[in-house]
């Protein structure tokens, strides 16, 4: 059954009770589907009733928010104070703060601001045994004790339930511009990224949408007006190709949120052409209604679509994973229809430090009741 505790104390009592009954459970933001390998569990704990801002001090640029609040609602509250959380995961109307942290999901702002781990300063978690635990604090700078909050990022609900998260915030930029270069190939994406670095430009977002033949590259600058204008002028000198004043925001959003199968594939930025040739082309081609978006400076590509030829898709996934892992990257299935899910490991080869991961799991959740089997190597 599904539970929706309305306070941290209720969540604590609930998890204590479920521990006593030895029930397995999955924690969900109640908005985004349960993740790539959500296995059957006894109970579901939803954070939908934990959806308030706990503390917001604009002068400190710090906010503490409950895990079930959606990213969009949080951003709307921050915008009133001309601030923002520098995280822009796809589907902000549905994506919750807790889900974002648990999956380490990100959007184009990753280019400049990193992921959840780079903006989290504190967290309250509910342990598997129901104990309420605080880690970090409400100040930006803090090295007292081990950084349990950052360790929780990307754990897919396998170590603890995220109760509240404290973030550092950034000022809302006064000005922004987005420039789109259509008709690029992978080599151009890479060389333009290198050229921007050489020219000491500081784009806040760089992403490219692939249509099966070429990329449309979007570059966003943000900040104070003079700086944005100057960066734009420099970029247009660097890029000797046609440009449009446009935004690819909706294309990006569609690629990240639609499709029965959603895959992420990574490599080093210097291997962008190889990532294109060995991963993107084949995966994009194997899917019906395929959509692909690439973050070239991160060298992460997200490919989504529908599986009409399941056997063909499986073969392509296998080949792309073999290539990605040989290149030091990974191929992860973020969403999949049942036929793919049953036949293809969502995560791939476990990392060399898997023994440490298992040791952490055994300490935090010794009875393996939190999202059991729901992460790398059926952790």
């Amino acid at each position: 059954m599904t539970h929706a505790p309305a306070s941290l104390d209720e969540a604590s009592a609930l998890l204590r009770e479920l521990a006593a009954k030895q029930r397995t459970l999955c924690i969900t933001g109640d908005s985004t589907p349960g993740g790539p390998a959500c296995v059957p569990v006894d109970e579901t704990v939803s954070t939908r009733a934990l959806n308030a801002i706990v503390d917001y001090v604009p002068a400190d640029q710090i906010v503490t928010v409950q895990a079930g609040m959606t990213i969009a609602r949080l951003q709307a509250a921050l915008r009133e104070q001309k601030q923002r959380l520098a995280l822009d995961p796809p589907g902000p109307q549905r994506a919750t703060v807790g889900g974002n942290v648990a999956t380490a999901s990100y959007g184009p702002l990753r280019t400049r601001y990193g992921t959840a781990r780079d903006v989290i300063v504190g967290m309250t978690i509910v342990r598997a045994d129901g104990t309420l635990v605080r880690g970090g604090g409400k100040v930006v700078k803090n090295v007292a004790g081990f950084d349990v909050p950052k360790l929780m990022v990307g754990t897919h609900g396998t170590l603890a339930m995220i109760g509240t998260v404290t973030f550092r915030l950034h000022p809302l930029p006064e000005a922004q511009t987005e420039i789109v270069f259509p008709g690029c190939d992978a080599a151009v994406l890479r060389s333009l990224c290198t050229a921007m670095t050489q020219a000491q430009l500081e784009p806040s977002a760089v992403f490219a949408v692939y249509d099966g033949s070429s990329y449309a590259l979007a570059i966003r600058f943000e900040g104070f007006p003079d700086g944005v204008t100057a960066q734009r002028a420099t970029l247009l000198k660097l890029a000797a190709c046609d440009h449009e004043d446009a935004t690819l925001g909706s294309e990006h959003e569609a690629a990240r949120t639609s499709g029965a199968l959603q895959v992420k594939i990574t490599a080093a930025p210097s291997m962008l052409e190889a990532l294109h040739a060995n991963g993107i082309v084949a995966l994009h081609g194997a899917l019906a209604r395929a959509r692909t978006v690439v973050y070239p400076s991160v060298a992460a590509a997200f490919i989504s679509g529908d599986c009409e030829d399941v056997a063909g898709v499986l073969g392509t996934l296998n080949a792309a994973r073999v290539w990605a892992e040989s290149a030091g990257g990974a191929l992860v299935v973020e969403e999949a229809p049942a036929g793919i899910r049953a036949a293809f490991n969502a995560w791939g080869t476990p990392p060399p430090a898997f023994g440490l991961m298992r040791a952490l799991k055994e300490r935090f959740d010794p009875d393996r009741r939190l999202n059991p089997g729901g992460f790398v190597e059926r952790l």
């Binding site: 100040v139 090295v143 950052k150 900040g223 990392p351």
Partner: protein, 462 residues
Amino acid sequence: MFADIVGAENCITDPAGLRVYECDGLTGTRVRPAVVVLPETTDEVARCIVRARKLGMVIVPRGSGTGLSGGALPIEGAAVIGTSRMRAILDVDIENQRMRVQPGVINLDISKHLAPLGYYYAPDPSSQSVCSIGGNVAENSGGAHCLKYGFTINHVVALTIVLASGEVVEIGSSVADPLGYDLTAAVIGSEGLLGIVTEVVVRFLRKPQATRTVFATFPSTDEAGEAVSRIISAGIVPAAIEMMDGLAIEAIVAATHVDWPLDVGAALLMDVDGISAEVDETARAAVAILEGAGALEIRNPHDESERALMWKGRKGAFAAMGRISPNYYVQDGVIPRSDIARVLREIADLSHRSGFRIANVFHAGDGNLHPLVLYDARAGDESERAEHVASQILQICVKYGGSITGEHGVGADKARYMGEMFSDDDLETMQYVRCAFDATQTFNPTKVFPAPRLCGDRAGVR
């Protein structure tokens, strides 16, 4: 004991040789270890760890020994494993902006190596010309410029670590989004309790187009604190904003010959960096804000050498205290930025009540205070009383919702204050992390945690 692994010359057991290693930057406490071993490779580190455990010794890891919280303070009978011979730069990958180094590499040497290519490594602790990157990883070191750029944890992407079993493990990745738990986040800032890091992959940055430095003086810390708040509220993210009070300025002027005025209550030293046009715009805006907040005088350095001199003054502030006091106790605490003025007044009250002069020099942008309690160790029980005053400052920080340490670490010095910030359950959860990595508690066993606690045999024992 270890000579067959590292060579007799790198295995120190004579009292004179050991004396050098009796303390780190926390000089008030000294303990002589049983042995100091200086390996050169990951394999040697692994063999030293296995040998130490066979001999029943605990291990204290040590970088350059510049830490201020006693993280590298030896433990009776311990083997200190130092990384000072592990100074090789192993790989530089310019396009991916990654560099693989051994842990003994000095922080500043990374930026020096990259400077001709136009890149640098962002975290810049004041000790950066002597502190090691391995020590930075252990302490999650920051520095003046972490206000904009973040800490070690934001700039280290992968590590090689040797566990208590002698097993060598690679964690993190040079490539984005490594699979699995973020183990680098667990190890960075773990103060040498989880293992010994033998290779570090750092992410380095392109130098910004421009940097502007502004120096401003104020009648008191109230106006200076207000100026900081207004700059941040204006949406400006300076690379650094440092505050010094009158006493700190007096010491810095005496020690470094910067020509700062002596008859002021506080000064701010600020860097803005980034795109040239934006830096010009924000520097102009910041100057207007400083004037509006009551600045007495505003200076811009004429050239890079004058700028370097100003920063040298700031970074040498702790050592400069020697000019105005025989001894000083460096405190490190954090408060919410908006409470700076209130907290500084409480610290001033504490100074009046206790009779100890307290100088303040700190990272104002992120609320990281470094009050320096000045005392004379030769005068009766001043050492103990000064330390007590310093501990009361931490209580003020905790009262305002801050932290007992922003960058110097808990180490041996602050373990007893952890209970003021964290509950037993919070600390027990941190122990889960420790026990997952080192259930034997071989590494730095007396540090960070206020009370000894065994790992138990539930699971995960390596």
